[in-house]
């Protein structure tokens, strides 16, 4: 036992002393290491294009599939000398610890010209809150909407609803036939604000309301916001029984097995359903509200940042410039079936194209990511409050008040 422990300690010491993976290879070829999460094969495929155009550079993508541990792995990596040259960064609040610690290189349009074309709404999530500098090239925009099963809709003579009443009557029709209208589970509480924003954003008036809350002119306990999150209570009859006890995975399976007709969720679900429910033809719509058109919330998912300690600063910045280019944006969208954050990219996938058009016309900011600060974070506090609301233990107004109380600790 002791010998084994000593061997492990020795091995650790040896690895710690080993030179970084980003050393200059014999032929003068430079290796840029990139850390991220998600399937590695996709990145190898995309970065191969860059290697073709830049023969002197070898891009080594390393993916940490355990997304929850990624933050710890990255902050440790960047603090030491064996960190990557570039890395995926979280958006908004979760990016700030790395910025404040001075681990990242601020990027400007001189080095990364593509940044100039980005929408401020997108770029904001890659900025340091205190200094306002850009620390990453945003890679994806996620939108939130309802995904539906086209066959179930057609079999029951339903079309994507144009009005709120139509949505309710379609849901009633489905329920009468024994089909769960909305596959939604509230056991994994991060899903709750997402689904609340899908049905509620238009109720509280999207970005204008969020701006007013940030300017301390309005509170979340405002009747319009309360009405928005109360949608979860109003739609409860059309969720699975005991929705608060149904997990995210259960909800996914309810939809992919054809037991449920609709799935309110992020665009990333298209990938999952595309692979796990190949025979289901998918459609998307944005839920209408009594006043008419609904709003489609969206958020920047993350960005590529450059390690301040990189040994290949010039090459890393050149690669970052490529990541901000339309070439990469197109490659990203078509490879991953996710929106690239690069402006002006038109997805080849027709469904994605449809979402893109709606988002351009009726897009809004996903409110929760704007309020993910504090310890405990307001997002965690509010997710829990929504769960209690769904369980009928508190009212929508009380849930909104809990969010106000938490936000007041840091805003």
């Amino acid at each position: 036992m002791r010998l084994a422990a000593a061997a492990v300690a020795l091995a650790m010491a040896v690895t710690a002393c080993a030179p970084s993976t980003t050393t200059r290879a014999d032929q003068g070829k430079i290796t840029l290491s990139v850390w991220g999460w998600g399937p590695e094969a996709n990145y190898d495929k995309m970065f191969a294009e860059y290697e073709k155009a830049n023969p002197g550079v070898d891009v080594d993508a390393r993916s940490f599939t355990t997304a929850t541990e990624y933050d710890t792995i990255l902050s440790t990596g960047l603090a030491g000398d064996n960190g990557p040259d570039l890395a995926w960064l979280r958006a908004g609040a979760n990016l700030q610890p790395l910025v404040e610690a001075g681990r990242l290189l601020p990027l400007d349009t001189k080095d990364v010209p593509g940044l100039a074309a980005y929408d401020e709404k997108v770029l904001r999530y890659a900025k340091g809150d205190k200094d306002g500098k850009v620390y990453g090239v945003p890679f994806a925009v996620q939108t939130l909407q309802v995904i539906y099963n086209k066959k179930i809709f057609a079999d029951n003579g339903i079309t994507p609803p144009k009005t709120y009443d139509e949505m309710i009557s379609s849901a009633q029709k489905l329920k009468a036939k024994g089909i769960i209208p909305f596959a939604f589970g509230g056991k994994d509480d991060w899903m709750l604000p997402i689904v609340a924003s899908i049905f509620g954003t238009a109720h509280w008036g999207g970005d204008d309301f969020i701006a007013a809350v940030k300017a301390k002119q309005k509170k979340f306990a405002d009747p319009r916001f309360v009405e928005g999150i109360d949608q979860l209570n109003k739609l409860k009859p059309y969720f699975p029984d005991n929705a608060a006890g149904v997990s995210y995975t259960d909800a996914q399976i309810l939809f992919s097995s054809g037991k449920a007709a609709m799935f309110p969720g992020g665009l990333w679900e298209l990938n999952f359903f595309g692979e796990n429910a190949k025979d289901i033809e998918l459609g998307v719509f944005t839920p209408p509200v009594p006043e008419g058109q609904g709003l489609m919330p969206g958020f920047t998912d993350g960005s590529y940042g450059v390690n301040v300690k990189t040994r290949h600063k010039a090459e890393a910045l050149k690669f970052a410039a490529w990541l901000a280019s339309k070439d990469y944006g197109q490659l990203y969208t078509d490879t991953l079936r996710i929106f690239s954050a690069v402006p002006g990219v038109t997805p080849k996938d027709p469904l994605l194209g449809e979402v893109s058009t709606t988002f351009d016309r009726h897009g809004a900011t996903y409110f929760m990511n704007e309020f993910a600060y504090g310890n405990p974070s307001s997002a965690a506090v509010f997710s829990k409050a929504l769960q209690e609301m769904l369980l009928g233990r508190i009212t929508a107004k009380q849930a909104a008040e809990q969010l106000d109380k938490s936000v007041s600790t840091w805003l």
């Binding site: 002791r2 422990a5 000593a6 300690a9 929850t68 541990e69 933050d71 710890t72 902050s75 440790t76 960047l78 603090a79 979280r90 609040a93 979760n94 700030q96 610890p97 790395l98 910025v99 404040e100 610690a101 001075g102 681990r103 589970g185 509230g186 056991k187 994994d188 509480d189 699975p240 029984d241 005991n242 608060a244 006890g245 149904v246 997990s247 259960d250 399976i253 309810l254 993910a372 600060y373 504090g374 310890n375 405990p376 974070s377 965690a380 506090v381 997710s383 829990k384 769960q387 209690e388 369980l391 233990r393 109380k405 938490s406 600790t409």
Partner: protein
């Protein structure tokens, strides 16, 4: 020669020499991290960069309204888990041990079977039970439905913690059973025989002879259960996620620490979580010492 001389002196010096490797490892992997954790808690942090000396600010943060609102319920859930473990798991463990002490054939096989689940990782057990208890697909509810007892066991705040206790019991019941079995084996048969000769019934033998003689084992089981309940993480994490779903009903100190340290996105997460870790260590260590004192005196 020198060796022989030392041996002649009693060998105390050289026996300490053999402790050095263990001491080094223990210092490097236990004492040093504990100490750094303590020092971390007195600084404010910018991500992984140490900022300025913060004194007791991080500790004051633990007691601030919004954090305390999570800390107290979490601590309460740990305490309830401990109570549940004592009442259900350890009582059942004792009952199994007493029953098995009368079994002649297949005792070993039965013991192994009862103890088997604790060889499985709690994370695996957690995910397994989440599937079994799923309100949408779970076989447990499918069986209970005809009886009108189907419910979201892990999805209702009233049933979630009791369900966690039942699952913990299912996994760990073999452990108190083995300890009690060993202790029972150590009680000489003559005591019970003598009591029976004097006309004691089996209930009286159990109450007046067996149970009092099991007190040292009970003390051990109680202390180990306390430490286990206070430090629990993997099972609750698998059952209710890092927020202790539903609505924080299964939130415990371990989850709170995990959230604070790794999932909050707070710039000073390291400072706050280190202070929480020091608090947890002091609380568990202090309570254990106290518990041991009280129990040993009684035993």
């Amino acid at each position: 020669m020198a060796l022989g001389a030392r041996r002649g002196q009693g060998g105390n010096g050289s026996s300490y020499l053999f402790l050095i490797p263990a001491l080094l490892l223990y210092s490097a992997f236990v004492v040093y991290p504990l100490f750094t954790g303590l020092t971390y808690s007195f600084f404010s942090w910018k991500g992984t960069l140490r900022d300025s000396f913060a004194g007791l600010d991080n500790y004051a943060g633990l007691l601030s309204g919004s954090f305390l609102d999570q800390l107290l319920p979490a601590l309460g859930h740990n305490a309830l888990l401990f109570a549940g473990t004592m009442l259900v798991q350890n009582t059942l463990g004792l009952a199994f041990a007493l029953a098995l002490s009368r079994v002649r054939r297949g005792k070993r096989a039965l013991q192994t079977m009862f103890a088997l689940p604790y060889l499985v990782n709690p994370l695996v057990i957690g995910y397994l039970w989440t599937l079994l208890l799923s309100p949408a697909f779970g076989p447990v509810n499918a069986l209970l439905k005809p009886l009108g007892l189907a419910m979201p066991w892990l999805g209702d705040p009233d049933t979630a913690l009791p369900t966690v206790i039942v699952i913990t019991t299912w996994q760990w019941v073999g452990f108190p059973m083995l300890l009690f079995s060993a202790a029972l084996g150590g009680i000489p048969q003559e005591y019970a025989e003598a009591a029976r000769t004097d006309g004691a019934g089996s209930w009286q033998v159990l109450r007046r002879i067996t149970l009092p003689l099991l007190k040292p084992a009970m003390a051990t089981v109680t202390i180990l259960s306390f430490i286990g309940s206070m430090g629990t993480f993997a099972l609750v994490y698998a059952l209710g996620g890092s927020n202790g779903a539903p609505a924080g009903a299964t939130d415990v100190l371990g989850l709170l620490f995990y959230r604070t340290a790794f999932a909050s996105g707070d710039v000073n997460a390291l400072g706050t979580s280190s202070a929480l870790a020091v608090f947890m260590f002091t609380f568990i260590f202090g309570s254990t010492l106290l518990l041991e004192r009280v129990l040993r005196r009684k035993a």
